[in-house]
Symmetry: C2
Subunit: 338 residues, 2 copies
């Protein structure tokens, strides 16, 4: 059986109010009595009734996190960082994998609301009007957007400058001599960062003076299989006019693309230079190692959860957008051209 | 403001009891009245007070899942399968990343208990007496062990036959001509499967008649970096007596090992044949593609969560251990020797 406050009060010979005060670290309990109550509670295997407490305090210490696909490098890394920091600060993670399913995403947010989560972390959400309406209706729940951009100004967000980062990736390939450059990136309708990165790429193509015939753009989802498929499509469509360098919208896309090119007899970086995006774990664990644009994933996750918990505990300043620096990480998958 | 049962009762002009019956799909409410109540609830944006309901019913529809490291292929894949199936059956996942930290693991289980989770999925837990004692003390919470072996007979478990699978991996290398075989596997003290796989390897070495001087065993954790380090150690220790084939305890270890060998100028599979374990996503996404022992990860996750929910809902038969089949998946990282 579970021992509660009643049983402890009886055992110690004090009132239930006194026991409750001692257990909740409230004032008006003598030091020695407090100690005795805590010891008795431990001996009696006392467990606080968390639900009753949550109901009373209107606080659950649960944070809802929805990610698009936990089986990708980016999301499993960011979830790990979020969970670690949340645990350090006494919060638990209710996890929903959106599975690229709009209905599931909507249900996920509805469950977060029903569960009375203290706050929600939004990661890489789709640009979907229904979702945005749903989020607006949940105005009583603190939210922080992490690695995604919402117009809705009430969200604190933690991001890199996605437009500049995409620009820099293309400019890097240009700086080492490439003039025929492809971009295999994320669909504009899928993630909020897709449009920003696409803008950055187009700005670079134009400012660097690349003729339209020498550029190639294909957009899809950002998984490894998507990278493989976009690679196959590029080889088929551009057989006579292949690029010499490719900017991939994620490290997973870059890995899929490298595999596709190697399976077709090409060598990396001799035949194609490839730059990825994220600097996730996989980028260091393929050969050649992937040149990539580093997002500080750890810091994005940690800053987002810190901002959210500050918001929940009303310690936070009304920061609107935290923009973290990105950086090109040169490794073995790129080489100078010409 | 939030509309509750009281507001709906007032709007429809019936008693709160009737509203409650209709919302909870209980009998004694006329069909047309039930429909009217449900419609009104929807229009009024009714949200059930989940905490109050949970407290009343002693049921939270939350399942606790602790994994060692979500950033590894095996665990992110299995968590994805578990979450998907749980969502289909109306349960939510409270997620704890153990982070290879015993204290964090103990705290995780304690939080699951305080949160009154309906059940717990154990994955790949350490063999630690304190943890096992803690789990035994939580005898009121249904648990299913998935991909780990506990002596404690009250747990339903979903596994492959780890001893036979490890045996078969070595036997496969032997069947294609290899006689100098190494095993880079998991520490015996870390995961419950470590000992079983080690037993299988030793049984194979002995029954296949491999001289002790021609075998090599090193044990560590099962991440990519661990595989890299074990590879470096093997090259240093066995410089004059290298194996021709290596069985890696996980696909991540195999990938780290391949990278280490390639970084040292060796070719796979020309110089070394490598077989991994798990058939996780990464095994298909490296070049050469990894020959591996397939664990049916999807089915392990799905069967485990199904068994757990059946147990929670008391529909389950008292199945003790579900053993799923494993299988060798030949790909490009092994070639016949001699």
């Amino acid at each position: 059986m579970r021992n509660g406050i009643k049983e402890i009060a009886k055992a110690v010979g004090v009132s239930q109010t006194t026991v409750s005060r001692a257990l909740n670290n409230e004032p008006y309990v003598r030091k020695d009595l407090r100690r005795k109550i805590l010891e008795t509670a431990e001996i009696m295997n006392y467990e606080p009734n968390y639900l009753a407490k949550s109901l009373l305090k209107n606080k659950t210490n649960i944070i809802g996190v929805a990610v698009s696909d936990i089986a990708t490098s980016f999301f499993s890394t960011i979830l790990k960082c979020i969970e670690r920091r949340a645990a350090e600060r006494g919060y638990n993670i209710l996890f929903c994998n959106v599975d690229d399913d709009l209905e599931k995403e909507k249900r996920g947010f509805s469950i977060f609301r029903q569960m009375r989560v203290d706050g929600i972390i939004l990661t890489h959400e789709r640009v979907d009007l229904q979702i945005i309406e749903q989020l607006k209706a949940m105005s009583n729940i603190p939210m922080v957007a992490c690695s995604c951009h919402f117009e809705e100004p009430r969200f604190i967000s933690v991001n890199i400058n996605d437009t500049a980062a995409a620009y820099d990736a293309v400019a890097y390939l240009h700086s080492i001599g490439h003039r025929k450059i492809a971009y295999l990136g994320s669909r504009l309708d899928e993630y909020t960062v897709g449009t920003l990165r696409h803008n950055g790429v187009q700005k670079a193509f134009s400012e660097l003076g690349l003729p339209e015939l020498d550029t190639y753009i294909d957009l899809a989802s950002l998984g490894i299989e998507d990278g493989y498929r976009m690679g196959q499509r590029m080889l088929a469509v551009r057989r006579t006019r292949l690029p010499t360098a490719i900017f991939a919208g994620s490290d997973d896309v870059a890995v899929g693309l490298m595999n596709c090119l190697m399976d077709n007899g090409y060598r990396i970086p001799e035949d194609f230079s490839i730059i990825g995006f994220d600097n996730s774990i996989i980028s260091r664990n393929v050969r050649p190692m992937l040149t990539t644009v580093q997002q500080p994933i750890d810091k994005i996750g940690t800053d987002a959860i810190d901002a959210l918990i500050d918001l929940i505990e009303q310690k936070g300043l009304p920061v609107r957008e935290i923009v973290l620096p990105h950086e090109i990480v040169p490794r073995g998958s790129c080489k100078p051209w010409g």
